[in-house]
Amino acid sequence: MNFRQTLTHGLWRDLPPFRLVLGLCPALAVTATAENGLGMGIAVTFVLIFSNMFISLLRKVIPDKVRIASYIVVIATLVVIVELAMKAFFFPLSQQLGIYIPLIVVNCIILGRAEAFASRNPVHLSMADGLSVGLGFSMSLTLVGSIREILGVGTWFGMAVFPDSFEPFGFMVQAPGAFLCLGLLLGLMNAWSRHRGEFFIQT
């Protein structure tokens, strides 16, 4: 893949979490509001760019047998940095995201990109890949968060969208709404891909 393709593939072709079906937990858990979704997306993007960078730099040094463990150490270090930075600068957001910030460590997207891309590509391409996949992830999370917040609370990023007479569907901000919203979005995306004659993986 050339540089431009690498920079854009995460935005539609491999859009997480829909196309890659990886990293579903944060996509479901923190998307009760658009703001939380965006916050989580940015945190994951940061970790992805730098984990891809370090792993790509170290790809000739890391022995093949212990590579997964080495990747996890790199990722966990970055996640601790994000965790502390969020506690220091965005305290209310870090309280709301709670245990889902440390759980970025086990987000399969990051390990997946490390294994599938950063371990066999040069540094600038790997960072572009991290940026692209991270941006795609932030976009998806913000979208899911917006839908759930608008329908479930009647606000968007905290601003009122509907007049007072609107009765919000409380269901959307709870667990079932998350699953339903993500499932329907995935279905819509598949329908659009089929309409355009694109190949899609889900069987």
């Binding site: 463990a69 440390p102 269901f171 667990a175 329908a191």
Partner: protein, 191 residues
């Protein structure tokens, strides 16, 4: 009595999968057949309980006295990864039958957020040792119950005619939503 309530609460009311969204990747990935789902459920119960014991001990007797609480993310994932490797080697040596049925799930569990999530929740809720064991085992049992039910539903889904665009993961997520709605009905049980 409190422990019983804690157990029922974490199996049904705060189900780790359907109410706290942890462990969704294996939930969608390995729930196509009932057999593999049972294997995954049992493996998670076993590893999550063991991992919680280890991480709890490490946190309370190693990290806390030294004031290194902020390292818990890094330390926990390493403890879990090492533990999973160790369990895999141990089972391989001890029991061929068990390894054949559980073996392939063990590497997957390292990146299963349910295991790490339970370990972190133990610390967050400030549980004592006994409470911690009850909570971990029953949360993992909740995972097993959910994935078992879900796999049975998916086996039926496989033979029904689903609109093309909704096939696979899309319909699985919608089904999980309906199941999660059903599990919300348990909410009154522990009040």
């Amino acid at each position: 009595m409190d422990l019983l309530l804690l157990a029922i609460g974490s199996i049904f009311v705060n189900n780790i999968l359907l109410a706290q969204y942890l462990g969704n990747c294996p939930f969608c990935g390995v729930s196509k057949k009932l057999g593999t789902a049972i294997g995954m459920g049992v493996a998670v119960i076993f590893v999550a309980t063991l991992a919680s014991i280890f991480t709890w001990v490490v946190y309370h007797y190693l990290l806390k006295p030294q004031g290194l609480e902020y390292l818990k993310t890094l330390v926990f994932i390493l403890v879990i990864a090492a533990l999973v490797q160790f369990v895999e080697i141990f089972i391989k040596k001890q029991s061929k039958g068990l390894y054949d049925s559980l073996g392939i799930f063990l590497p997957l569990i390292t990146t299963n957020c349910a295991v790490m999530g339970i370990a972190l929740l133990n610390i967050k809720h400030g549980f004592g040792f006994v409470q911690m064991i009850v909570f971990s085992a029953s949360s993992a049992a909740g995972f097993a119950v959910a994935i078992l039910l879900f796999a049975s539903v998916r086996e039926r889904l496989f033979i029904s005619s689903v609109p093309t665009a909704m096939r696979g993961t899309a319909i699985a997520l919608v089904t999980a939503g309906v199941m999660s709605l059903a599990f919300m009905g348990f909410a009154g049980m522990t009040n």
